[in-house]
């Protein structure tokens, strides 16, 4: 089974961020997890990694409502980067607004929409979707 090597958790709430990091490592057997408090920070690191040729993430777990650069803006910027390897992007949000779910479906970069909490059921679905990602 394929497991993530490097995951980005983009989330402004520190507690949610810590929890997500823990669960990714424990349940998804993620090797390394880096957390970022908003889209801007995650994007800055991602472009720097691309530029410097350091490790690129194969999984990004993205919140939607964040200051400075929110999830949507991150996705817009991300899609312009043209990464050499495939990255599996999951939205993990507490929003159940139908507009958000609809909007997410329009981004080809988004491989799954998850409503918090990240429970066993969601972890299982993440695992399954991650297997088919990049094929």
């Amino acid at each position: 089974m394929k497991t993530p090597k490097l995951a980005y958790v983009v989330e402004d709430d520190p507690i949610t961020s810590s929890i997500t990091k823990l669960i990714l490592r424990k349940s998804l057997a993620c090797e390394k997890v880096q957390t970022y408090a908003n889209g801007q920070r995650a994007f800055d690191h991602l472009s720097a990694a691309l530029h410097n040729g350091t490790d690129l993430p194969d999984l990004i777990v993205l919140d939607l409502n964040m200051p400075l650069m929110d999830g949507w803006e991150f996705l817009d910027a991300f899609s312009c980067l043209h990464l050499p390897t495939s990255v599996c992007v999951f939205i993990l949000t507490s929003s159940i607004h139908p507009d958000d779910i609809m909007k997410a479906a329009h981004y080809k970069e988004v491989h799954g929409y998850f409503s918090k909490p990240l429970d066993d059921h969601n972890v299982e679905r993440m695992q399954r979707l991650f297997q088919t990602c990049g094929e």
Binding site: D13, I15, T16, S18, I19, L22, I23, N38, N65, P67, L68, D70, E73, T93, S94, S95, I96, H97, S115, K116, P117, L118, D119
Partner: protein
């Protein structure tokens, strides 16, 4: 035979033969009443069989009694007949002619017209009265019916305030009814003037279009609502039906316009439309609000669920303690969120909080007083150009909160590299007093953030103590007072917030 001899011959016949008299009294008249004017008992009076037939009695069915005909006659009319007789006795010139109501055998009223001739004996003393009776019941009924119809339509026309107007083909008045003159304060001098110009300007095109259709399709009603200034200087909406009337050559000769006042109807329609708009807006707000609540509560409850799970699976004491600490923080945050939400619910559910007149300048001064330490500490220049006597109608607590929020935001997001200036000024717009709060601070990227500026939990600067509820609450409070808020901002230049206080609501 010439005319004179014919007349003589007829009179000769009449003298010698009763055929003619019989024909007249049985076929032409509906009864004869022959009275002895000297016998007050009337026992010697006589009525003809035709009279009885008129009342539905065959000769062998005539009621018994000394004077049975009198029983069929209306007492008041009998008295009237007596008066006419006496008048004739007094004055030979008096015309004996009156109405006599009789009761038909079936109980209905038969109206007879009696015309009398007083007969004298050889001494010239009046002795007999011959009354010729004609049944005019049908005419009476027709007359009553016509009167009823006239009353009916008269009532309708006078009570319904229907305008009836005619114009020539150029649209100049040729006729108007009284109600039209009265309601719009016109005199006869409007005849010959343009009906189009009496309509308010915005509706003239609509009116013209309808008149054109009268030419295309005359004799069919074309309906339109037009507004017009009434004599009390209010604008009235009138519903009109326009029809072209044709002359003998089949060309439109006149436009007939029948109209009535629908001002109340139109006003109510506009009111309900407004209400519908307000309700739809409120509905959208409430729905968004429901999503916001669900989002905010959910984000914390999700953390709690996960933490409890992690706590049960904790591998050592250290992890256990860490999760417990996180659990504590999460419950605290949930409690804070609930407090924030209840603030917002309070604003949203108390749309009808009582408003009071407040002097804006005095309220601003109080807010600056409360922020004086911060203002002094950051060396901020305050430039307040608000007239001291300017009063606005507000929910006082909301005004406090709005001023505190906008001014403290301007302080919080000042640009560190230049001396901060916050400028407050007011001006009037139709129905609104506008307060402008302008700063030269960091500014907000409006291209990116316009849509979310007033959203909940949106923060735009990397500021640790930004809660992301301030502008959301401010907007809700302003909207609860039927006002609005707008913003112009540029990164590195500053922001200008404009608060529109509704002075009509």
């Amino acid at each position: 035979m010439n005319q004179g001899s014919a007349e003589a011959e007829l009179y000769q016949h009449l003298m010698t033969n009763t055929v003619i008299f019989d024909f007249l009294q049985t076929q032409v008249l509906d009864g004869l009443w022959y009275q002895d004017v000297q016998a007050p008992t009337h026992e010697h009076d006589w009525v003809s069989p035709t009279f009885w037939r008129t009342l539905g009695y065959e000769p062998d069915q005539v009621p018994a009694g000394p004077t049975p005909w009198r029983a069929t006659m209306h007492p008041a009319d009998l008295a009237l007949a007596q008066l006419h007789l006496e008048a004739c006795l007094q004055d030979p010139q008096h015309v004996y002619d009156h109405l006599l109501r009789c009761t038909h055998r079936d109980g209905s009223v038969v109206w007879l017209r009696g015309q009398g001739l007083l007969l004298h004996n050889e001494q010239g003393t009046p002795t007999r009265l011959l009354v010729a009776l004609r049944n005019i019941t049908k005419e009476k009924h027709a007359e009553a019916y016509a009167e009823e119809i006239a009353n009916h339509y008269g009532l309708i026309l006078s009570n319904q305030s229907v305008y009836i107007v005619k114009t020539d083909t150029r649209g100049d008045y040729t006729y108007a009814n009284d109600i039209f003159y009265e309601r719009f304060g016109y005199g006869q001098d409007i005849i010959g003037t343009s009906s189009l110009l009496s309509i308010i300007e915005e509706d003239r095109q609509k009116c013209l279009a309808m008149v054109m259709r009268c030419f295309e399709e005359p004799e069919v009603g074309h309906q339109v609502i037009l507004r017009k200034l009434s004599s009390d200087n209010t604008v009235k909406s009138n519903h009109w039906e326009l029809k072209g009337t044709l002359n003998e050559q089949g060309q439109v000769e006149e436009i007939l316009c029948v109209g009535y006042d629908v001002t109340l109807l139109v006003e109510n329609l506009q009111k309900s439309q407004h209400l519908l708009d307000v309700t739809s807006q409120q509905n959208i707000r409430l729905q968004n609000f429901a999503y916001i609540i669900s989002h905010n509560i959910r984000s914390h409850s999700a953390n709690l669920t996960s933490l409890v799970q992690l706590l049960t699976e904790a591998e050592d004491e250290e992890q256990h303690a860490m999760f417990l600490q996180m659990l504590q923080t999460s419950t605290q945050k949930l409690a804070e969120t609930i407090v924030n939400l209840s603030d917002i619910v309070a604003v949203n559910s108390n749309v009808n909080k009582p408003k009071e007149r407040r002097f804006l300048k005095a309220e601003i001064d109080r807010t600056l007083e409360a922020l004086s330490v911060l203002i002094h500490q950051h060396k901020i220049t305050m430039d307040v150009q608000v007239p001291a006597d300017l009063a606005i109608t507000v929910v006082p607590a909301y005004l406090d909160s709005i001023l505190l929020n906008l001014i403290s935001n301007a302080v919080k997001y000042r640009a560190p590299q230049r001396p901060a200036v916050i400028r407050l000024r007011t001006y009037q717009e139709p129905s609104f007093t506008v307060l402008e709060v302008q700063d030269n601070g960091l500014g907000i990227d409006m291209v990116k953030n316009r849509a979310k500026l007033f959203g909940m939990y949106k923060t735009f600067h990397d500021n640790e103590d930004a809660r992301g509820v301030g502008l959301f609450i401010t907007k809700n409070q302003i909207e609860a007072m039927q006002g609005s808020i707008t913003v112009e901002s540029e990164v590195g230049v500053g922001s200008t917030f404009k608060v529109y206080f509704n002075e009509n609501a």
